[in-house]
């Protein structure tokens, strides 16, 4: 098997980084978790089937409940498909703030790695899936400010998904920019991601280039 750093340097594809944070509190158990599983594997599978996306996409997946579990740390789609099956919704707490914070740390570290070998990447996506209020409200507030700041700076794109109409979306609402909505799960496949990827691969000729930093 090749070492990760060798792989990373040799894969010249511009990376599409996708960070998935999944709630693993007890309330998610049963049909809700199944729905999440289905949705994520559908999403990952569709990426796996896309020849152009397969090598570009790197997935990080963490679950937050009592503990923060890193299921995969910017691994390939194939690895992520395996890892996504192993989320157990048994937590009493919903430590969303810590979870997202951990994800941001992983993301920063990975971006640094990519930079160090001279690889390019698209604007990362952060997807948070939860069905209730966070139990670490204070942490959540701090982290959400960070997330909002990153979005405003154009360094991150965020999608927050709740489970159904009954779910509480107050905590999730904090992470999205004012004007954006928390959406219901089921729309994940509709993420702009594919159009983004295919756009970036096929260069669109423009008749006008705005003044750039050249």
């Amino acid at each position: 098997m090749r070492l990760k750093h060798v792989n990373m340097a040799n894969n010249k594809a511009t990376r599409a980084l996708i960070c998935l944070c999944v709630d693993s509190s007890f309330s998610m158990a049963g049909p809700r978790m199944k729905k999440v599983d289905d949705e994520i594997s559908k999403f990952l599978q569709s990426m796996y089937n896309d020849r152009m996306a397969r090598d570009s996409v790197e997935i990080a997946l963490i679950s937050f409940g009592d503990d923060i579990e890193v299921k995969c740390n910017f691994d390939s789609v194939a690895d992520a498909i395996k890892a996504s099956k192993s989320i157990n919704a048994t937590g009493k707490k919903t430590e969303m703030g810590y979870g997202v914070n951990k994800m941001l740390q992983l993301l920063d570290a990975h971006i640094q790695e990519l930079d160090s070998v001279g690889n390019k990447y698209y604007k990362p996506w952060l997807v948070i899936i939860s069905d209730g209020e966070a139990t670490d409200d204070e942490e959540c507030r701090v982290v959400s400010n960070d997330v909002i700041r990153r979005q405003k700076n154009g360094n991150l794109k965020v999608k927050c998904l709740n489970m159904d109409d009954e779910a509480d979306i107050k905590s999730l609402q904090r992470f999205v920019l004012p004007g954006d909505q928390v959406e219901q799960i089921g729309t994940m496949a509709s993420i702009e991601f594919f159009s983004l990827l295919s756009r970036s691969i096929s260069t669109v000729s423009e008749s006008y280039l705005p003044q750039k930093e050249f």
Binding site: K12, M52, E206, L209, F214
Partner: protein
């Protein structure tokens, strides 16, 4: 090579090509004999194993044999078939050993050298039974399969098998009486001898040693072949043996022949043309334009002088009727010196008579009839009849290799020919011999990864050989197959060698041949182009290329010089790119023409299926084009509409938000269709399209469906998925060819003063089956005749343009004209990207590309190599030929202008280096190129971290060994260097104290077990202050000594 008295001197004068011409002639003769041998042996083979049971039996025998005898049984082939048909069976055979089956499948996927090493775990009888079940029943099919399984060399190898030689010999003895007294040892010896001779003679797939074979040896081998073959003679194959024997003797004879310059024979009074004519037709020796193969020069002279006496009289009546002229005309044209008797001439041959007759400036050709009225457009039915009647119709490679082309011949031409034949005019179609040979060759040795194309050649060959030639006798082969010219070139040669004949070369669609045939040189030749009618696939259009018009009625209309003068150009290679006279080259300093943005407002919206008219007022039906997902095919400027399999229409967008239908575009297209550059594979606008008399779009050629954008193929080749699914089997050579084809397209455009303008990976399409094929699409945006290219992309815009135009609030691409120099710069970037697997030349570690461009930071030079992005880039760079790398440095570092034509040249060199000089073919080379393998500069080592094999300079290797340092590949080295920058707290294994260290130390400790030592405990060497001997102590101990104001003493001095 040549013998004879003065030949040594003459030999020196032959330049390389001439030697090749000579050896080509000889090789041809050898080949033809060898074919006979092959046929003969096949015959022997099949007589031996003529029934199904015997085949099975034989295969059973063979399957017992161990070793790599693929000439006998291609077992992979059998297994492949089995897997395809019945995977279950395979599981059964291997007693459900899943691992084995997987291993087997894997083995089959990559054609391993030891094809049979795995399979012997399978029970042979079961395997045979499985084989039977797959090829159930049909004997024919089995025979056919068997034919694929055996190589003719198989027979010569049969006797080599120790275990089976007896059985085989028994079988053979029963069949062939002559072999009865051969005992087993003799039989084995004979087989081994035959095998080795066969390999020497025909070459083996691993070696080609034909050229080194001396004439003596060749003769000996041929004798042996004849002798051995003689033993297999029985009643049924007697004839084929005789034929073989005769050919062999002919070949032996020809090996002794000399290569005589035709010019040397002119002392006989004939001119060169006539001599070659006489020697070729009357004596049947192989003649190769400049040389004639004959026993000796004296013999040739003698034959020429005897010539007149030997020929029988030619009946002028017959001759005249052949020429379709009155007899009196022929008689009048003869020189007075020639005697006539009963309307017969005795002194000259028919071919010579023809020449004399031609030179006598007589009208001698068939009446062109309807053909003479032809000016342009499609040939009418009558005109095609006349064309067939008056011309020798040569089918060229483009029509033969195209399925529609073959359909056209089948459905249209052959009925015409039948009709004409009924009227008593024997009409044939002609195929030039090189074309035939190429198709046959390509069919035989096409890359297996390009299965579809091989199939195409297969079906083409079967159609020509079985249908046209053997069964119906429609086709006559002409000319001499050549190994040095390609199909078009040798067709053009044939035409020029036969300039007196009326020849029509029929192509399918555009073909280079039209440019290669010169009207002035071959006045009677025309090139016709058949194609599907635009808009109707069932109908066909045939047009004559205008540059070969008008048809010449009689020889009177031609200047005599052409026919008489000896053509000196004949031996020169024809230039592949011949700028067509009909293309008007654009003036360099044509002024900028603004493209008006005034909208053309359509009176009625365009429906999905509609009839549009072209500028010629012809009408065509177009239909919206959907891809397999039901999405409309469209680009940024317009939608695509289907016309037929060769053409598509692009209709400009008229949506309110994206209105592209402007008068500016109309003017540009109308200008472009007037002047179509004579280039292959370019989707240039061919016709403008009008709907209700309003301009809506244009017609262009269609790119074959299997072709893919560069952005989704060539530039993505670093992705495993693309390597496995799209560009199967591509390597660096394919990338180089692809880049070369692309650069040559740009070169040709520039030669016509057209700029592509918007160079980007989506405007090129590649053909995954043939890396040398590149299509240009989106041609309506090209900068042409003063019209700018109105679009562009950030990545592929010259920085100067952005600097120049960007100052005024951004770049408007439709407001200026680009220059050739700017385009060549972008081309260089693009070539770089192709060769470096989509790496941008200005990607620098730790720097934004825009900044790198601004600072002209191109990191690929020795001093800045550390800034080259990780991955394989540096190794790719180090494996480039110096021409290419210095050209890149010129462009990206010194911003010099390197033209497209220069890139073509450099890439050709690169291709040559890979093919001939052993430069790496890997997509990502792992080792530095070793220029002198006899005295290597590099040592092969394995990386201590990732285990990859790489090489490094000898002295560096020694240095690393001396200091016991790790040998790391470039990637791992830079990974480790990165680790150095991450601080970590570690515990010293010596003093157990925590200290600040870095991740590298930790990594080396975990990976290799290196000791973690803090800086205090580190051993350092200082000199003894008394005797100066080196003294090793921990740093902290030295420090302690210094603190206590003590001097450093070595053990010895301390004792003293």
């Amino acid at each position: 090579m040549c013998r004879g008295e003065n030949q040594v001197e003459e030999q020196k004068q032959l330049d390389e090509k001439e030697i090749e011409l000579y050896s080509q002639a000889r090789k041809m003769a050898l080949d033809s004999i060898f074919d006979e041998f092959r046929i003969y042996l096949t015959d022997v083979y099949f007589r031996l194993f003529s029934t199904g049971d015997e085949i099975a039996d034989f295969m059973f025998q063979m399957s017992k044999v161990s070793g790599d005898y693929d000439a006998i049984v291609h077992r992979t082939h059998i297994v492949k078939q089995m897997i395809r048909h019945n995977e279950k069976l395979l599981y059964e055979l291997s007693n459900n050993n899943r691992d084995f089956v997987n291993k087997l499948k894997k083995e089959i996927k990559k054609p391993a050298r030891s094809k049979y090493s795995v399979i012997y775990d399978v029970d042979d009888t079961k395997m045979l039974a499985a084989f039977h079940s797959v090829y159930d029943g049909r004997i024919d099919n089995r025979h056919k399969q068997l034919f694929e399984l055996f190589d003719f060399a198989g027979l010569t190898k049969i006797g080599v098998f120790a275990d089976n030689a007896k059985d085989i010999l028994k079988k053979i003895k029963a069949k062939y009486k002559k072999i009865e007294d051969v005992d087993i040892e003799q039989w084995k010896e004979m087989c081994i001898q035959l095998k080795s001779y066969r390999n020497e003679f025909d070459g083996h797939k691993t070696t080609h040693i034909y050229k080194e074979l001396s004439d003596e040896k060749t003769k000996r081998i041929i004798d042996y072949f004849v002798e051995c073959s003689g033993k297999f003679v029985c009643e049924e194959n007697k004839k084929s043996f005789e034929k073989f024997q005769y050919n062999a003797s002919l070949l032996k004879q020809q090996l002794d022949f000399d290569c005589v310059l035709i010019e040397d024979l002119t002392s006989t009074g004939y001119n060169c043309e006539t001599i070659s004519l006489i020697m070729n037709t009357e004596y049947g020796h192989l003649c190769n334009e400049k040389y004639v193969l004959i026993e000796t020069k004296e013999k040739a002279l003698q034959q020429l002088s005897n010539y007149k006496k030997n020929v029988e009289g030619i009946d002028l009546d017959i001759f005249a009727s052949k020429m379709c002229v009155p007899v009196q005309l022929v008689i009048d044209s003869l020189p007075k010196s020639i005697e006539l008797k009963d309307n017969k001439v005795f002194e000259i041959s028919e071919s010579l008579l023809t020449t004399i007759f031609m030179n006598a400036n007589q009208s001698l050709y068939d009446d062109l009839n309807h053909l003479s009225e032809y000016k342009s457009g499609n040939l009418s039915e009558n005109q095609i009849f006349d064309l067939l009647r008056t011309h020798e119709l040569f089918l060229d490679n483009s029509i033969l290799l195209n399925e529609n082309g073959r359909k056209y011949i089948n459905n249209v031409l052959l009925p015409y020919i039948n009709e004409l034949n009924k009227n008593g005019q024997p009409i044939h179609l002609y195929i030039e011999a090189t074309t035939k040979a190429y198709i046959e060759k390509m069919r035989a040795d096409y890359k297996t990864s390009k299965e579809a194309e091989k199939k195409e050649y297969d079906s083409c060959y079967i159609w020509i050989n079985d249908f046209l030639y053997t069964t119906y006798n429609y086709v006559v082969y002409k000319g001499i197959p050549s190994r040095i010219y390609d199909m078009n070139e040798s067709m053009a040669h044939y035409v020029r060698d036969n300039k007196n004949r009326r020849i029509c070369v029929l192509t399918w669609g555009k073909n280079e041949i039209a440019n290669m045939i010169n009207k002035e040189e071959s006045p009677f030749c025309v090139v016709a182009r058949a194609m599907n009618s635009i808009g109707n696939k069932q109908k066909y259009d045939v047009r004559i290329f205008p540059k070969h018009l008008p048809f010449i009625e009689s020889i009177r209309n031609v200047s005599l010089n052409i026919l008489e003068s000896k053509d000196t150009k004949k031996y020169n290679r024809i230039q592949a790119v011949d700028k067509d006279a009909s293309f008007v080259k654009q003036s360099k300093d044509i002024s900028f023409r603004k493209m008006s943005e005034e909208r053309i407002v359509l009176d009625n919206p365009i429906p999905e299926i509609c009839t549009l008219s072209m500028e010629t007022e012809e009408k065509i039906v177009v239909k919206a084009w959907f891809d397999e997902n039901g999405q409309k095919k469209e680009g940024g400027e317009g939608k695509l509409y289907e016309i037929d399999e060769n053409y598509v229409a692009k209709l400009y967008h008229t949506e309110e938000t994206n209105y592209k239908l402007t008068t500016g575009r109309r003017d540009k297209i109308e200008e472009m269709i007037k002047n179509v550059p004579r280039m292959k594979r370019i989707c240039w606008p061919q016709h403008a399209l009008y709907f209700d008399n309003q301009f809506v779009g244009y017609v262009m050629e269609k790119v074959p469906e299997h072709c893919i954008n560069f952005s989704k193929s060539v530039l993505q080749i670093n992705k495993l998925a693309v390597q496995q699914e799209v560009l199967k089997g591509w390597d660096r050579l394919d990338l180089v060819k692809c880049a070369k084809a692309l650069a040559s397209c740009i070169e040709q455009l520039h030669a016509n003063d057209i700029l592509m303008g918007d160079i980007n990976p989506d405007n090129f399409m590649c053909d995954p089956r043939n890396s040398e094929t590149v299509y240009l699409v989106d041609c309506d945006s090209y900068q042409y005749s003063g019209f700018p290219c109105p679009v562009g992309t950030v990545d592929y815009t010259h920085p100067h343009i952005i600097e120049r135009e960007g100052n005024v609030g951004g770049v408007r691409f439709d407001s200026f004209l680009r220059t050739e120099e700017e385009e060549d710069f972008v081309l260089a970037m693009f070539i770089f990207q192709i060769l470096f697997l989509n790496e941008y030349p200005f990607t620098v570690k730790g720097m934004q590309p825009s900044q790198a461009i601004r600072e002209r930071k191109f990191p690929y030079i020795r001093e800045e190599a550390k800034d080259v992005p990780d991955g394989d880039n540096w190794m790719i760079w180090k494996n480039l030929p110096s021409q290419i790398s210095s050209a890149f440095i010129d462009v990206f570092r010194h911003w010099k202008h390197v033209r497209a034509s220069e890139w073509v040249k450099y890439l050709k060199t690169y291709q040559y280096m890979i093919e001939q000089k052993g430069f790496s073919r890997e997509l990502t080379p792992k080792k530095y190129h070793e220029f002198n393998p006899n005295n290597p500069r590099f040592v092969d080592v394995n990386c201590d971290i990732c285990g990859m094999e790489f090489n490094l300079l000898k002295d560096k290797y020694e240095r690393l060994n001396q200091y016991k340092q790790k040998k790391l590949c470039r990637n791992c080295y830079s990974f480790v260097e990165n680790l150095k920058n991450s601080p970590i707290q570690l515990q010293c294994q010596n003093c157990l104290s925590e200290f600040d260290s870095n991740c590298k130390v930790d990594y080396f400790n975990k990976k290799f077990g290196d000791k973690v030592i803090c800086s205090d405990c580190e051993l350092i060497v200082k000199n003894c202050s008394l005797c100066g001997a080196p003294c090793r102590k921990r740093r902290i101990e030295f420090k302690k000594l210094a603190d206590e104001n003590k001097v450093i003493l070595c053990k010895k001095c301390r004792g003293w």
